[in-house]
């Protein structure tokens, strides 16, 4: 039984047993076109649904005539709000304790709102029949501007809510200390004021949202095929909404073509598909088209911010922010229950402020609902954008270099754990060091020299340099502080090592491309020494994975990854007891090296994990009181959020004559703690930078006065291609998270959080010689040109 070290599987750079640049397991099917996305699933007897949408942003529904659609030879059923009322499904709860119409019955409240659901034998016929439905509308006045939504003469949008007399969507919400902030501002040397908008944008994953609902009337079993980021939470919600028993609902997420927050919510189309399957008695597939995706499913951001920042003695000392949050017609923003503005109050950033005060009020408008976190942890993107724009504005006012001001104001390493003026406890960091790495990579001083030369020459190509430093709070979260719809934000893991030493780990996180099948196997490999190729990661099926809240807010590694590390250690502890029996010694006399327990002082004598596994399932006696088998399960409750941070620098060339801004360079230095798979981490950062570049320069969901959405296709909602994106330059520092089992912090959203203000700061820096000190995103050619003519307009 005694084995020697030579028998351990050999690791290499190409084949790490644990952390390292391991090529992804999931690629094998994707590069062959063998992924199984929602639209690739065909069930016997499946029919197709399509939705009729409202052309008006605000209108009474006088009548709906479905007779011509029902007469279509291939139509099986047409469902309206009246039909849903009989099923109790006309309205659904939102993630923010509001209600949302599944199909509009009384009136429509935003353009493209869902009005009727057609079920037909094929998709073409379903879409044909949608055009045969005749709806008579009586148009009502429209409000799309959040600043006007609370005017006395604004039309009341939510007349369905008892006692609702205005368009206020939630009570005022505050953080920080107003009186202390007033005192800091009164004592300040310099005060700067800005109105800053983070406009409405959209995650727009390449695969749109959809569902196949398969209700079996004989058994009462409802199978749901649906690419979503939180399958367990969805199942609980469906049980509540549809009055079905939770154990009779099974959600199967196969491959998901991107999510970015857009696949967190429950959409009316999902409820329609479920209702359709109940009514039609067969599986119903509904997949939104691109316009439905962009116009009526989850938008992101839409924060209108008024802010002041002040300094004293050359350092940032205070911050005030007043926010109007535009939630659209129904409040379905994604956030934890106790935080109606998400984690926006992390807005004090990476600096030692003396005081700060945040005030947020949310309003209803005649715009689509949503408020999802587009590659963002609960409004942190808005917060970081605000603070990092304000620091630049303050630096301009003070006449100092924006990086100098940051350096002088950073929280210092010895101040951690650091409690911010709005109540966050940052756990660790060395901000100045990370900033210096970014400056060195960028060649910051040389860049400023080049810029000065170009400005002196009066070049038509205006060079801008932008910098940001961000701190995020991700990995929600501790159950004592946060929940969603009453569900603790914890995650489960279930690990079974089989008799041959191969393992299956089941997790509640839900990959949408992040590579969990590879990286979560690496965590088990790191802890147990089992090669990653011998570990299957199971996810995406609520019948076969433990309960947990899913993947968003960069929470997979901080929460689910921690669960996997902890469950692996539980298995390792059990293996130690078994190994002691095998080696005829006491457990405390054993020491661990990756893959085996061995006798302290006699390293030749040991037991490999696969031999321990074999023993655990064999007929040989187990240690007293221990059950057979080698497995364990855990639910992980994080003690705190994790706080990844980073320093980004960008260089922008802005054509003074055309307004075209090109990102020449973008240097991103991230500190996400310990990196499980640096290749995957780099990939996440590349992708987030591209989305950030899109938001800064291109992506916008806007409306005209009548509430028509002006960006309802990819011809109008502009997403970066390879031509807009530079060759990203990455660097890293590693400050392990002190409370995470493997010291990791999460990284998926950092590049989006950091790059948006970085690029906008660079565009504004380019315009500085023209006297322009602010413009709102997106910095597209038309808006840049207008800004350079002194007509910087906020987006609408």
């Amino acid at each position: 039984m005694a084995t020697v070290t030579e028998n351990l599987p050999s690791a290499s750079t190409e084949r790490p047993i644990g952390f390292g640049r391991l090529k992804r397991k999931e690629d094998a099917r994707f590069i062959r076109g063998q992924g199984r996305y929602l639209d690739d699933i065909r069930l016997p007897g499946m029919v197709h649904g399509a939705i009729l949408h409202s052309p008006y942003a605000h209108a009474k529904i006088v009548s709906i005539d479905t007779s011509a659609a029902l007469a279509h030879p291939k139509v099986a059923a047409v469902i309206t709000a009246k039909d849903l009322e009989t099923l109790g499904l006309a309205w659904m709860p939102t993630i923010s304790y509001d209600t949302q119409a599944v199909l509009a019955g009384d009136k429509v409240r935003f353009q493209h709102q869902e009005v009727a659901f057609v079920i037909a034998l094929d998709e073409y016929s379903a879409r044909d029949a949608v055009t045969l439905i005749d709806v008579e509308y009586e148009p009502l006045p429209v409000v799309v501007n959040a600043r006007k939504a609370l005017d006395a003469d604004a039309p009341l949008i939510r007349d369905d809510k008892v006692g609702q007399r205005d368009n206020l969507a939630s009570p005022n919400w505050e953080a920080g200390d107003k009186a202390a902030t007033d005192r800091v501002f009164a004592a300040a040397d310099t005060v700067v004021t800005r109105d800053i908008i983070y406009p409405r944008c959209h995650p727009a994953p390449l695969e749109t949202c959809g569902m196949i609902a398969d209700f079996n009337p004989n058994t009462g079993q409802l199978n749901i095929y649906n690419g979503n980021q939180a399958p367990h939470a969805h199942r609980t919600v469906y049980a509540q909404v549809a009055g079905l028993a939770e154990h009779m609902i099974r959600i199967i997420c196969s491959d998901i073509g991107g999510g970015f927050g857009g696949k967190v919510p429950v959409y009316p189309g999902y409820v329609c598909a479920i209702a359709g399957s109940i009514v039609a008695g067969c599986p119903v597939k509904w997949i939104e088209d691109r316009s439905e995706n962009l116009i009526c499913d989850s938008f992101a951001r839409d924060y209108i911010m008024h802010s002041q920042m002040c300094s004293k003695g050359g350092r940032i000392t205070g911050l005030r922010v007043d926010v109007i949050a535009d939630h659209g017609a129904f409040d379905s923003t994604a956030q934890a229950t106790k935080f109606p503005a998400g984690f926006f109050h992390i807005v004090c950033g990476s600096y030692t402020l003396e005081a700060s005060h945040v005030n947020v009020k949310a309003v209803y408008t005649n715009k689509a609902p949503g408020g999802v976190a587009y590659r963002c942890s609960f409004r942190i993107t808005e917060a970081v954008y605000l603070v990092e724009r304000m620091v630049d504005a303050l630096a301009i006012e003070m006449g100092v270099d924006p990086i100098d001001l940051r350096m002088r104001s950073f929280i210092r390493p010895e101040q951690f754990p650091y409690e911010t003026t709005t109540g966050w406890t940052y756990d660790s960091g060395n901000y100045a060091e990370t900033m210096r790495v970014a400056m060195d990579l960028a060649g910051y001083d040389e860049l400023r020299k080049e810029q000065a030369e170009k400005r002196a020459r009066g070049d038509n190509m205006l060079m801008g340099i932008g910098a940001t430093f961000f701190t995020e709070g991700v990995g929600a979260g501790p159950r004592k502080h946060m929940d969603i719809l009453g569900l603790a934000m914890n995650d489960g893991a279930d690990l079974r090592v089989h008799p041959s030493g191969k393992a299956v780990v089941s997790i509640s996180a839900q990959t949408q491309g992040q590579g969990h099948e590879t990286t979560f196997a690496q965590i088990v490999a790191e802890e147990l020494g089992i090669p990653p190729e011998d570990i299957t990661v199971r996810h995406g099926d609520t019948d076969k994975s433990p309960y947990g809240l899913g993947t968003y807010g960069s929470r997979s590694t901080p929460v689910s990854g921690a669960a996997v590390a902890v469950v692996s250690r539980k298995v390792r502890d059990k293996a130690r007891l078994i190994a002691a029996t095998m080696l005829e010694t006491r457990p405390e006399d054993l020491a661990w090296e990756k893959g085996r327990w061995y006798v302290k002082g006699d390293p030749e004598k040991g037991a490999l994990i696969e031999d321990i596994a074999s023993r655990a399932y064999s007929g040989a006696p187990m240690p007293a009181g221990l059950e057979g088998g080698l497995d364990a399960q855990v639910i992980y409750d994080p003690p705190n959020l994790t706080y990844p941070y980073g320093a980004y620098i960008s260089v922008v060339d802005l054509d003074r004559e055309t307004g075209h801004a090109v990102v020449r360079r973008l240097i991103a230095v991230d500190d996400c703690g310990v990196r499980i798979n640096p290749m995957v981490v780099d990939g996440q950062i590349h992708g987030g930078l591209a989305e950030g570049l899109g938001i800064a320069l291109m992506e916008l969901i806007s409306f005209d006065e009548q509430g028509n959405c002006l960006n309802g296709s990819m011809m109008d909602y502009l997403i970066p291609t390879a031509l807009e994106c530079p060759d990203w330059e990455l660097g890293e520092t590693v400050t392990p998270c002190p409370h995470h089992p493997i010291g990791a912090k999460g990284v998926g959203e950092s590049p989006n959080v950091g790059s948006v203000p970085c690029i906008v700061n660079a565009v504004i820096d380019a315009m500085l010689p023209l006297g322009i000190k602010h413009m709102d995103m997106p910095c597209n050619p038309a808006r840049n040109w207008a800004a350079m003519q002194g007509r910087a307009e906020p987006p609408q």
Binding site: K23, Y37, L206
Partner: protein, 160 residues
């Protein structure tokens, strides 16, 4: 309804189809080759790119009836006798895919590029894939994957 036969990856597929049926839907629903994806409706995203007589073509922008008599190749035809095409291997080696949804279109686009230009520069690669959207990778590793495949197929190593 007209009966149409289309050769896909060397195999003829026939169906009685509506004249308005898109080539994309013929490939997915008649030939049951679901590797070719739909993403946008407006010919912007490139998830549906196949090769028509060797030219990268958006299959959502063509009627199936127009493809009769032409050779259609899809992602399912890249691997031959268990041997990955170098462009497939390059995407794996360089981590040029995350969610995988754009990957088939990207593979067919870049395979066509390498067939025409076996030693493309970074700028040429970026131009070639500019009709396709990847929401996950930020494109950097896709560029590297194409260079990997080019060098595997004999192009000299570029730069340092």
């Amino acid at each position: 309804m007209p009966n149409v036969t289309i050769n896909i990856n060397g195999t003829p597929y026939s169906g009685d189809i509506e004249p308005r049926l898109l080539l994309l839907h013929f490939i997915r629903d008649v030939a049951n080759l679901t590797g070719t994806h739909w993403g946008c409706d407006t010919s912007n995203c490139g998830a549906c790119v196949i090769q028509l007589d060797g030219q990268p073509t958006k299959s959502c922008t063509m009627l199936a009836v127009m493809a009769e008599g032409h050779e259609v190749s899809t992602v399912e035809g890249l691997e031959v006798d268990g041997q990955l095409d170098p462009i497939q291997a390059g995407f794996h080696e360089m981590h040029a895919l995350h969610c995988g949804f754009c990957t088939p279109g990207m593979l067919m686009t870049t395979r066509a590029l390498l067939d025409e230009n076996p030693d493309p520069t970074e700028a040429e690669i970026r131009m070639a894939i500019s009709g396709a959207i990847c929401r996950c990778t930020g494109y950097k590793n896709i560029v590297s994957a194409v260079r990997w495949a080019a060098e595997y197929e004999g192009a000299p190593t570029q730069g340092s």
